[in-house]
Symmetry: C2
Subunit: 439 residues, 2 copies
Amino acid sequence: MTTTQPVRIDVDVVIVGSGFGALAAAQKLAGTDLGVLVVSKTTEHLFQPLLYQVATGVLAPGEIAPPIRSILGRHKNIDVRLGEVIDVDADAKTVTYRWGDARTVVGYRYLVAATGASQSYFGHPEFAENTFALKTIDDALTLRDHILANFELAHALPSSAERDELLSFVVVGAGATGVELAGQIRELARRYFDSGSGGIPADDVRVVLVDGAPDVLPVYGGKLSEYTARTLRRAGVDVRTAAVVTAVDDEGVELHADGRAARIPARTVVWSAGVEASGFAGVLAAATGCAQDRAGRLLVGDDLTVGGHADVFAIGDMTSLGGLPGQSPVAMQQGRHAACIIAGKTARGTAFRYLDKGSMATIDRFHAVASVGPVKLTGVVAWMMWLAVHLLYLVGFRNRYVAVLSWFGSFVGKNRPHFHLAVPGAQVAEPAESVEVSA
Amino acid sequence: MTTTQPVRIDVDVVIVGSGFGALAAAQKLAGTDLGVLVVSKTTEHLFQPLLYQVATGVLAPGEIAPPIRSILGRHKNIDVRLGEVIDVDADAKTVTYRWGDARTVVGYRYLVAATGASQSYFGHPEFAENTFALKTIDDALTLRDHILANFELAHALPSSAERDELLSFVVVGAGATGVELAGQIRELARRYFDSGSGGIPADDVRVVLVDGAPDVLPVYGGKLSEYTARTLRRAGVDVRTAAVVTAVDDEGVELHADGRAARIPARTVVWSAGVEASGFAGVLAAATGCAQDRAGRLLVGDDLTVGGHADVFAIGDMTSLGGLPGQSPVAMQQGRHAACIIAGKTARGTAFRYLDKGSMATIDRFHAVASVGPVKLTGVVAWMMWLAVHLLYLVGFRNRYVAVLSWFGSFVGKNRPHFHLAVPGAQVAEPAESVEVSA
């Protein structure tokens, strides 16, 4: 499946990544006379804020992760390649990306790095082995299949401690992703077990949301955090704040709270508690002499350049700049800033300024919180805002009808179409419908 | 993840399978005073006729494979379990199904077997290792990812014999599935490579359709087969009939045609040329003393009973009865027939009669063939019929809005939303959006 003869391409701008920052930079450069190459490890642009809905069967991957080609394909000055960038030579001004054994060398005039961040386990790498992550489409599909497998297996068991373990879900990290996932798992349990089959009451499904901070959604705090915790508890989520995870194994987690240790038996522990810069940040740091913080984030200049190289930019979650939050609006604005400097629309060395338009998080259907400057909103009003902002973004892509329909059909409605699972190890056979006609 | 203590359930009717026949039988028994348990190896009812569209990214699995629970869940007398039936005791009137190590014993008054068929390689099991099948959702997803990987890898290669191999697709078996898949891969290539990126002309993608019969869609023959071959060739498909596959390796296939041998280099060979009864047919044959044909199909009685057991029925592609075609209408009518006998609406021993309403196959957008008794239809008229019949069936399920919309958005339109892929072995990282707020 691979080749050993390397290919060389020369472009004006190479953008590494396919997230919010990379896409914003590429779109800002669309239609200019600059030749742009986007190199990404995945074919899709992942709309991460809705990834938890893929993990719970509400949306299909394709509905929140359109192929980058289909988004950028119409711009003749932009090409897209699938590959992992493994080397940067900031003096020769080349990056090398791989697919299997195939190597491609790309000569650039400008480099924009936007590879984001991955999960952090706060110095407990062993936690990763016994927890599920929720950072990529594949993470979401793995978690989705696991949830469904536990639901189905529970039907085969009498009421027992083992069945309780199967139906217990611990979500570590009460940020937006953790809060949304906890709420959605409760929602899914209602749909699934109240659908008439199986005879397991939905309330047998236990969802525990854990965070070391005293509040859920600690970034908001105050009334919004209180409202969120209240709403989650009303939905049946067991909220444990100021609780630190001290151990995780495949049958549960150990918590430490109020000076006491507690164990929660659960076959499913989802980790969404921290981030660290992607591995490419290290490659780029070594190539440019740029410093990194404890989370591996690049300490970029005010103008987003890396290690004093005027032609190398890094943006988004792989960077640290003045304590800006690792959120998509920051990455998108940084991407446009770097693109404007490259396109000559903004003077070299111009410092990046973040325009904070506020932030919001959804809790479950019809409940969300939003913070816009001094204005704090909760409930259905905030939820409509959240819905509008997210749909508006997705509408930018050509799969909007699918996303919008599935949304109202599944998320707001009762449908969970995107579950399928086979018995592990079974030889699955399906009706042959039309094949045999040529037999 | 499993238990060793076995659970015993007793029901009036146990239905094994989740295909067209099983579902028709279950729906016929819905609302009766009979307790029905459906045991299936997969959670979904697969609408196999559109599986090729999942393999080519047009539709998401959930759009053609709704969970059986969501279809049958509203009927209080029907329960659904995920498991593989591994044993039948026709005298004790029990079936045993497994999930992992968990065993469940189900006592029944009536057993309906409907587990369908799997791929047959005509005595060349080694072909299976180097070909892709298209029988299950997982088959379709595997093929989909492989097609996309080859398309993407081709971008990393200069024009070369290796690139040609990557972009060559051989479909063995010109039945409905093979014809539809060949047409759809050409369609996909046009969308994918003419989308502006990559600079590979769509015509570099080669699709070869092979069948040992002298015609494509041999079940139709005559004008309809000629029309189909003509339409495929116009779409750029290389049609090779009366050609027998003599060898398959991971770099191509050997054909024998017109007394000459030929080799087609291709990294992708899809096998859709034959079927044999599912493994459960053997289990049931052993338990009931029922005979099987060369393809492992159960030689059931006229009344669909198995091995003379009046309380055991087998239907659909796992059976052979009077040369009926292995198509969904047969399976569905047989399922209803068995259900009517079980429910006492039809006298025991009544022979099954198949009502042939005709059959149809699609070639590509706006082209199909249909045969209804003496009437033969081709072109857009047949295609509209095909569309109507297939939508009508899907509309029976609650995910209709999703399916219908995706259909018009993707199949008829230009969108191919359901592709996503990561570089093999790469540590994929994505923007952290909302997770870090709790870090």
